[in-house]
């Protein structure tokens, strides 16, 4: 139980970090961490299908797409 509590806390901290970071790459990595922890929570909630989809799509591919887009635009928030 305490494990879940820590995971949720970490997830929320990562989400707040994603909103604070001025460096967009760091923000994207933080958002990817949110997705990854969400995937673990999905697994704990007995949803292995969704956990796989979230890990493969939400954490991996979305991050790649974000990073490509940031490379083609600007890295730092103004």
């Amino acid at each position: 139980m305490i494990f879940v509590f820590l995971l949720v806390l970490l997830m929320l901290i990562a989400a707040i970090a994603a909103s604070i970071f001025k460096d967009l790459i760091s923000a994207v990595i933080a958002a990817a961490l949110v997705s990854l922890i969400a995937a673990i929570l999905f697994y704990l909630l007995q949803a292995p299908d969704v956990a796989m989809a979230e890990a493969a799509i939400g954490a991996a591919l979305v991050t790649v797409v974000f990073i490509i887009a940031i490379r083609r635009t600007k890295r730092f928030e103004e």
Binding site: M52, L61, I68
Partner: protein, 228 residues
């Protein structure tokens, strides 16, 4: 100013949702539709993974819509990025090191195989067309990043996308012609827990896997182009 208003707005929404949530206690069974699927799913669809039977049989129409959404995103992205595109300057591609090149050459078919395994076994084990498709797409991402070469032909991916969608609709229409219901599971259900079971579910999941894989790979291909 904007910050304060936003926080105030969020507070009101939070209060309202808490009121509503009090009626939805966590961790207790409360659904009748879900119960029906668990009790009857294996018998009616032949898939042992109930989530798959819901996604590809009971709620297959949603899945058709969702595949369409991804299709729209892929062509919309193409339309947005191609209009007014200037002539591509010749890119200088730094060749990848031998180890990296051989490594990803070696991994590429393995990842493809793994993705295919995931979507072929969608009705038996966790996973299915979307997860498998995403893994297939990540194999292509690997070749872009590792081998620095394009593995996907535009014509091929276009063909895969439209044929995939078309087969999905046609399978549905065959169900309509045979049994009177769109997307009816008209093939024999077979014995649960065998690869060749569950009627149209494996067919649809293979179609979805190929389609999702080529669409996601196409999206990344479109974005990465002329990015240097």
């Amino acid at each position: 100013m904007r910050r304060i208003i936003s926080i105030l707005l969020l507070g009101i929404i939070a209060l309202g949702i808490t009121l509503s949530l009090a009626k939805i206690p966590f961790g207790t069974p409360k659904t009748k539709v879900g119960r029906y699927y668990i009790d009857k799913g294996v018998e009616e669809t032949g898939a042992t993974n109930i989530v798959t039977s819901v996604v590809v049989n009971y709620r297959a129409f949603d899945t058709l819509g969702e595949v369409t959404v991804l299709f729209i995103a892929a062509i919309g992205l193409g339309a947005v990025l191609t209009t007014g595109r200037r002539k591509k300057p010749e890119r200088k591609i730094e060749p990848a090191s031998l180890v990296l090149y051989t490594g990803c050459r070696f991994l590429f078919p393995l990842i493809l195989l793994f993705g295919a395994y995931i979507f072929v076994h969608g009705h038996l084990t966790p996973g299915g067309g979307f997860q498998g498709g995403a893994i297939v797409a990540s194999a292509f991402v690997l070749t872009y990043l590792g081998c620095r070469e394009r593995r996907i032909s535009e014509r091929g991916s276009k063909l895969a996308e439209s044929l995939g969608g078309l087969i999905f609709v046609i399978v549905g229409l065959v169900g309509l012609a045979v049994g009177g219901y769109f997307l009816m599971n008209f093939l024999p259900k077979g014995i649960p827990n065998f690869l060749f079971s569950a009627g149209i579910i494996p067919i649809l999941y293979i179609v979805i896997g190929v389609k999702v894989g080529s669409e996601l790979a196409g999206i990344i291909d479109n974005l990465i182009e002329e990015s240097e």
